[in-house]
Symmetry: C3
């Protein structure tokens, strides 16, 4: 994390090109609407043109094709949003918590914590857990015994890693619990959102590969594998033993049945329910589009009648 | 919170009219089914007529048009359900926790707590947080740094306010984290349910206006605004930068995409996925209605065939 | 929990029949893929035949009709999956936590804990709570005042039992909170997943009957009743005052409206939204099937046009 920097200094560290105002001193990032002369902002497309014209930002990051859209001090970069992410990392820490174990955390003696690991207030870290260097658990995270987290992993408050998977067997109408003897393995550079849950495996491990990004309130069932660099938005549920590829994206509240395979580079739209394997990269969708209630009711009634005619 | 009261005393405080039994002494509220002579209950409609006839309640709250439906001691009020809410508030506290900070809570020295604020066991309140007068955090709430809560805010256990929003930028297949430098501002008289999560803004703040009521397990993305007096049922997800109006209601498990606008006085039905802005007040729905599995399968197959014919 | 056992010893305790290798010594259970000579695994169907042929398991549990499918040491049982569950219980404890109250837990003096109850780190147990013999709360569970849990109940981390139900009354555009004076009653042998929430009743109690199994991130609204031996997968939401029968199963992310009845022996498919009572046993479904995005868009547009023609 750095102090104030000029556009020239930023470009010297991150690349890109200063189109105007190389000496402009920047203290922090901000949105086009709320920025003032101390801030740098970014412009990604025509729908924000009015905001660009009205901004009081000290400088703006623009794409080459938008270089002439403003006269403000500016940096030209191929991907302004990505460049902005890197600038923001110059001015802001990635996590808001110092290294070390908060005195109110409960960490088992057999747990192994990496260098500079940060364990927040009220966390509970179970027996034989391993947490890699520079990882950060925000307050009130629970890691059940034997789970392993890589380096630079960020886990937000309320997440629960390694609770028992939902394994039950029917014994004439009564459910017999199946002990969950697997664990959870989480790779480097994974981020896990608030109140997300990742279950331990029934027999083998649940696996979250490196670079996976999980938003809040996601549920990942036992023995699922999430391939590297896949990003999953909030409220997604993934049932047990799903095998999810690398470089996938799942929109919010998508739901994935268990025991299926999704190959690399699949994009699942928000709200979509996946009930079968997806073996071809691409974008997949399945939602009933919203309508005014009365019109929806007519469509729904009509579809049900039609379906019934085929009986 | 008061001791036992007669119907006459209740009416003196809350309005309405005693139709019979002004001296009946009431100790507590109850449902028609479980009430006995010490209880007051309420009757809201014909589908509960059998319960009204069978009740042993000491008194009942009824609407003017139902005044003759029972001979029991009763109070007549325009809106029996609302009146009942007020009566229940006479006999019961709004929160079950005394003011003050529980010794097991971790509150940053730089946090500002209002008068009579109640911070439950195991809560974590971060640096520079502000919590208004008479607010109550139940056990194990986490408030990340710099978030501000108004007066009379109630937050239930497991809620997480101010975790990082889901901000990532694609760098050739790897995700770069965008620091989340905004915060969360919550107005007066807001209630937040158990295990609900409200993310801090990426640059500007996430805003929950006064009088908003949020049920359990709701996820609110970064930079969303929820207008005043909107009520949202459980399991709803709202993606980032949504702009939700005032006096809206969202049924359970509704899902709202980000970067869209919903105007005031919109009702979203339970289970509905909102993928576009709603610019006209009204009720909106979009769910596939449940059916016996075989009949559903025929409707679904038929719709897919029809869609395919248009290729 | 036992030490190593031979197949003969296992059959002596659990029934079934040894088809080969009665003296084979077993130390633990494992999947067909990861097992070695110390492990026993199970085989449930033809889709796993290749795994059966490749396994290095010391022994396998098979159904009578599959007795000849392998030459390995094996136990023949009518229901191999159920038998495997029982074998796993021989080698593994049902919960990973010792009896007693962890010093960091906050337990009200008026709470009553049964024999051998285990209260994990950071749990909060409110006034007048009752917890039965041999029950286990994993770290960071919150039980609000007056809730009652039966015997052998397992509650995973982050679960919240007894937070206020979502009870509000409309007072000319402002919401008036209705105190939630009921409680939660949970029967024997119930398991509750991580970050699941069960609200206390508005007036009467919310009831979870014996043997119910709840996965993670389930929300159960106030005054709901879940009948005995019903199993509910992750991310399900059940609104208030639902009356759910015995021996039902709900797939993941199913959503159930309030004030409705579901009879015994109903199976709700994953992702299905239930908006009306289900009065006949059977399997019920209602999801828009996933499709490639463009094909879905055509189906959706076509359905909306058709619905509109009926205006």
């Amino acid at each position: 994390m750095a102090g104030p920097m000029t556009l020239a200094q930023i470009v010297a560290r991150l690349g890109g090109r200063v189109a105007a105002g190389a000496d402009t001193l920047i203290h922090q990032v901000a949105s086009l609407e709320s920025a003032d002369a101390r801030h740098i902002s970014f412009f990604t497309g025509k729908r924000h043109r009015a905001k660009l014209e009205a901004t009081r930002a000290g400088a703006v990051i623009v794409a080459p094709e938008a270089e002439g859209d403003t006269a403000r001090p500016r940096i030209v970069a191929e991907n302004p949003y990505l460049y902005f992410a890197r600038v923001s990392q110059l001015f802001n820490p990635l996590t808001a918590q110092p290294p070390g174990v908060h005195p109110s955390a409960v960490v088992a003696k057999s747990a192994k914590l990496g260098l500079r690991a940060s364990i927040g207030a009220g966390c509970v870290v179970g027996e034989e857990v391993e947490i890699g260097d520079d990882s950060c658990l925000y307050p009130r995270v629970v890691i059940y015994p034997k789970c392993r987290l890589g380096k630079r992993v960020i886990v937000h408050s309320g997440a629960v890693i390694g609770a028992d998977g939902f394994g039950i067997a029917d014994d004439n109408g009564r459910w017999i619990k199946i002990p969950q003897v697997g664990s959870v393995r989480i790779g480097d550079d994974v981020e896990i959102g608030a109140n997300t849950t990742i279950d331990r495996g029934a027999l083998d491990d649940t696996i979250i590969e490196e670079g996976v990004k999980l938003d809040n309130q996601i549920q990942i069932g036992h023995n699922t594998r999430i391939g590297a660099h896949t990003a999953i938005a909030g409220c997604v549920g993934i049932a047990g033993s799903a095998d999810i590829g690398r470089h996938c994206t799942f929109g919010g509240a998508a739901m994935i049945l268990g025991h299926l395979k999704i190959v690399d580079h699949v994009n699942i739209s928000a709200g979509t329910f996946i009930s079968r394997s997806i073996l071809k990269p691409g974008t997949y969708t399945g939602i009933w589009p919203v309508d005014e209630h009365d019109r929806w009711a007519r469509s729904a009634a009509w579809l049900r009648r039609k379906g019934k005619q085929h009986e």
